[in-house]
């Protein structure tokens, strides 16, 4: 928190440009809701915002946190250390105090923790503010301390603490609770006002954000999963099928709810295999369809994905990665599905894989994935992850009138058609949707068997060689047409950090931090994971070290999954990996420390 002291008063008011607030409690305390309100408020106040949350994988009970970073300037990660901790319980205090930067403020619920229990060491290191949150909430709205309401009371406290826009916040609260019993909205406002009007006389400092930089910008605030699902709708996808699994599930829930408005539908299937099969059937029906999953569900889908590669069927497969293998760490963040996304399945089965790096990127990536699937008649895997899926960000409202696509099937009759035409000028397969009359009377078949140009099975090794090459070459053509990645920072230097997926934000922030300390560090982000885009070799040539930063294991060869993939293109020993598997997002400082250490 960069502060500039204001005229002395008690408590003093400091101007800040950004703050990291961590709220810690239990999963049923509704702390995600406070985070959501703060994020939405930031979005409406022309500020940048990024959130980070953890939830236990069980339904009820278990510790949970929500961290929100609000900034008047660019926000690239959810923040390494918190400026303020709001702890609902003794256990939340103990577990998260270390995430607070020295001198940071901790607000604790004095109904759950006694002031005399706080160690002298902690008292000197951090600034403590005890507020009887539970009892004051009960006083304001009735019920018991266990009931909901503490979260909204605390939101009031934070609003006071950071001089947040109360008019906007109360409007958000009213909007959120509209449609329910009017008493619910009234109760929420009472709780909020009680928190806001609480005399923070003991607070050491109050804060005020500098005005945001995004002045006049209309922003939308949503989670990565929401952005991805809306992106698919904008791309023109009207059919999908899935099976519930965390953290993919909210994409399917949203599509189930929304697609009928556009004349489409989303089907919940009996299993993962049925859901990818149904999506492939609908894609064959003429319009790119979507399926998705996480972890084990992706494993189950691989046989069918191989069919889509063989039959060259456009298809979108969303993989919201989580900690694996097997059931693994369902609510932890990992980027360990890169290998299965690129190579999962038997045989030579080239397909396209794209990563998502932010909530906004989820929206646009979904559209690009659909366009690639259609243009190159190929399945496309979107690799997103648990971190992006659940975090909330504000981003510039897309120009929907311009962006929203129509991809309805074209059933105009044709004279003749060979889907797997080996002499096609661009080498790309084209399917005609069933329902299209072909005047020659020769109709195509789509199949998982090796086939001739009409799709009829063949045992000819010559055709197999030609078709294998065809499936490979069309994606090599895609690779050659991909945009060359842009270097973040100077084009030459000591260290180049390579990111993919959600590592982008923390890696770029690491570049800023390292450069501020005088180190020649730059970064490059790889959005199109497989096949890789052109130009990497030239970019790498400008640096002495290339470190691929990713959330997975270093494996037998001592390099992460993306690192290994890059090495197959550019076999250079200067490419090494910075990996970790603790299930949490990157801490910017860790990236810098490890990179500098490795470069010694």
């Amino acid at each position: 928190m960069s502060t500039a002291a204001s005229p002395q008063s008690s408590p003093k008011i400091s101007k800040i440009s950004e703050a990291v607030i961590r709220i810690a409690g239990n999963s049923q305390d509704g702390i995600q809701a406070i985070g959501g309100f703060l994020a939405r408020l930031a979005g409406r106040s022309e500020q940048e915002v990024m959130t980070f949350m953890t939830i236990p994988s069980t339904i009820s009970g278990g510790p949970s946190i929500f961290q929100v970073r609000i900034g008047s300037g660019e926000v690239l990660s959810a923040g390494d250390e918190a400026d303020m901790l709001l702890a609902f319980y003794d256990h939340s205090y103990k577990a998260h105090l270390s995430s607070l930067k020295p001198g940071g403020i901790v607000i604790y619920d004095s109904d759950h923790m006694k002031a005399e229990d706080i160690s002298v060491e902690n008292l000197t290191k951090y600034r403590h503010v005890g507020v009887p949150i539970s009892s004051l909430t009960v006083e304001a709205i009735g019920g018991t301390g266990r009931d909901k309401g503490k979260n909204v009371f605390s939101l009031g406290l934070l609003a006071k603490m950071f001089d947040l826009n109360v008019t906007k916040l109360t409007r958000l609260l009213t909007e959120r609770f509209t449609g329910k019993d009017p008493k619910v909205a009234e109760t929420a406002l009472n709780a909020f006002n009680a928190g806001y009007n609480y005399q923070l006389a003991t607070a050491p400092e109050l804060f005020q954000f500098n005005p945001g930089e995004n002045v006049g910008l209309s922003q939308v605030v949503m989670s990565g999963n929401e952005a991805l699902a809306y992106g698919l709708i904008a791309a023109g996808v009207r059919f999908g099928a899935g099976y519930p699994i965390t953290p993919w599930t909210d994409i399917m829930e949203l599509l189930r709810r929304e697609l009928p408005k556009y004349g489409g539908s989303f089907q919940q299937c009996e299993d993962e295999i049925a859901s990818i099969s149904m999506a492939i059937g609908a894609s064959w029906g003429g319009r790119v369809a979507v399926t998705g999953s996480s972890g084990p569900g992706i494993s189950l889908k691989t046989e069918a994905l191989g069919w889509a590669v063989m039959a060259e069927m456009p298809l979108i497969v969303v993989d919201v990665q989580r900690g694996g293998p097997s059931t693994g760490m369902p609510t932890s963040i990992e980027q360990s599905d890169l290998n299965i996304a690129c190579f999962g399945g038997h045989g030579d089965s080239p397909r396209v894989v794209i990563g998502t790096s932010s909530v906004e990127d989820c929206f646009y990536t979904a559209i690009e994935a659909v366009n690639i699937a259609r243009k190159y008649s190929t399945p496309v895997v979107i690799l997103t992850d648990q971190g992006i899926a659940t975090r909330i960000e504000a981003f510039k409202e897309p120009d929907l009138q311009k962006i929203v696509q129509d991809i309805s099937p074209d059933l105009t009759p044709v004279t003749d058609h060979k889907p797997y035409d080996l002499s096609a000028p661009d080498g790309i397969t084209r399917h005609l949707a069933p329902g299209t009359r072909i005047a020659s009377g020769k109709y195509p078949v789509v199949t998982g068997l090796e086939h001739d140009e009409l799709g009829h099975p063949t045992g000819s090794s010559k055709l197999h060689v030609q078709m294998v090459a065809k499936r490979r070459n069309k994606l090599k053509k895609l690779a050659s047409e991909l945009p060359v990645p842009v270097v973040y920072g100077a084009a030459e230097g000591q260290i180049l950090l390579v990111s993919w997926g959600s590592s982008q934000g923390p890696v770029q922030e690491a570049v800023k931090l390292a450069r501020a300390a005088g180190h020649a560090v730059s970064a490059v982000h790889i959005k199109y994971v497989h096949p890789l885009p052109p130009g990497l070799e030239n970019i790498f040539a400008g640096f002495r070290h290339v470190f691929v930063v990713e959330l997975n294991d270093e494996g037998f060869a001592g390099i992460g999954q993306m690192g290994a993939l890059i090495r197959t293109y550019i076999p250079d020993a200067k490419i090494r990996g910075i990996t970790k598997t603790d299930g949490l997002t990157w801490k910017v400082k860790d990236i810098v420390d490890r990179a500098l250490q490795m470069a010694k």
Binding site: E270, S277, M278, I280, G286, H417, H456
Partner: protein, 318 residues
């Protein structure tokens, strides 16, 4: 990233398409397809295989119903009988083992204008695809499913199938199978199928009658068609073939096809069992249920372009 770098291809068929559009034909100007027009590859089946009859009757059905090439979608999984789509001159899909039903459901639900017919064998339907059979039946997805049941794995050359009778000797049960076989009719009724029929490839008129009734049914229509594998299970269905000394017993005329329990009981008739429609009822199809959700929600956003509908959601997230 706040823009789309990879743009939408200009037409739904992509760039450089090698097809030339032609003028549409009026249905009235089109003649029913002949067998020659509707047959494609020569079947890979062994001479004498029961599946030939099923294919010939499918052609006859297409001719009789005046179906045009482009409206017929033939879908199959893996197995001898599942090579069916290659033999039909129409849009066809030969999918992976056991998953033809969910694939076909995707076609049926997204393209209500198409006639979706699925063909497969007993291993595809009741073993690897057992789960899908149950759920497609209970959801009552509008499609016709013909299972050509030969009670043996033929493509992989003689292993026990889920409908092989107790005592059947195969390469995986050299002492004779000990596992109780599935009764496909009971399976279908208990799963919630709304049209359940049984026929045998040796009685062509009956096969055609069942196919026609299935096609007329609005919902999931299932036909178990006994189809002899002359290579690995010769004589399997002689008991149901009069010219081989068997009896072809039809379901009694007085049977109430809407009586689920009576139908279930009838399906337990001693080998070779009965033939005809066991069960038939009308229940809202998955297709109709989805359409009613669509109609409801679209009614609320009548007159809006897709981008305007999406904009309404985005406005709420500001």
């Amino acid at each position: 990233m706040s823009e789309v770098a990879i743009l939408n291809p200009t037409t739904s068929r992509g760039v450089n398409t090698n097809t030339t559009p032609v003028a549409p034909l009026l249905d009235a100007d089109r003649k029913p397809l002949t067998k020659k027009e509707v047959s494609a590859d020569h079947p890979t089946w062994c001479p004498g295989c029961g599946d030939f009859a099923v294919l010939a009757l499918y052609f006859k059905l297409i001719e009789r119903r005046k179906l045009h090439h482009e409206k017929i979608t033939t879908v199959a999984g893996i197995g001898c009988s599942s090579r069916f789509p290659y033999f039909v001159q129409a849009h066809g899909a030969h999918y992976i083992h056991g998953r033809a039903l969910p694939f076909a459901s995707g076609v049926s639900l997204s393209r209500p204008d198409l006639q979706v017919c699925v063909f497969g064998g007993d291993g595809d339907a009741f073993s690897i695809g057992g789960n899908h059979f149950t759920h497609t039946a209970r959801k009552n997805v509008r499609l016709t499913y013909v299972v050509m049941d030969n009670s043996v794995y033929g493509l992989t050359k003689n292993q026990t199938s889920p409908t092989s009778p107790i005592g059947f000797k195969s390469k995986t049960d050299i002492w004779g199978s000990k596992d109780r076989p599935i009764n496909p009719i009971k399976q279908a009724i208990s799963a919630g199928a709304t049209f359940v029929a049984r026929t045998t490839a040796t009685n062509p008129n009956h096969v055609l009658a069942m196919m026609e009734a299935a096609m007329d049914h609005d919902g999931f229509s299932f036909i178990q068609c006994l189809s002899e594998c002359v290579e690995f299970y010769p004589g399997a269905f002689d008991a149901a073939t009069p010219r081989k000394g068997g009896v072809f017993n039809e379901i009694p005329k007085e049977h109430d096809v809407t009586d689920e329990y009576a139908s279930y009981k009838l399906a337990d008739t001693e080998w070779p069992g009965l033939f005809g429609v066991f069960y038939k009822t009308q229940r809202a199809t998955k297709n109709a249920n989805e359409q009613s959700i669509i109609d409801d929600l679209q009614g609320k956003s009548a007159g809006l372009e897709p981008w305007q509908i999406l904009k309404k959601n985005f406005d709420r997230m500001k």
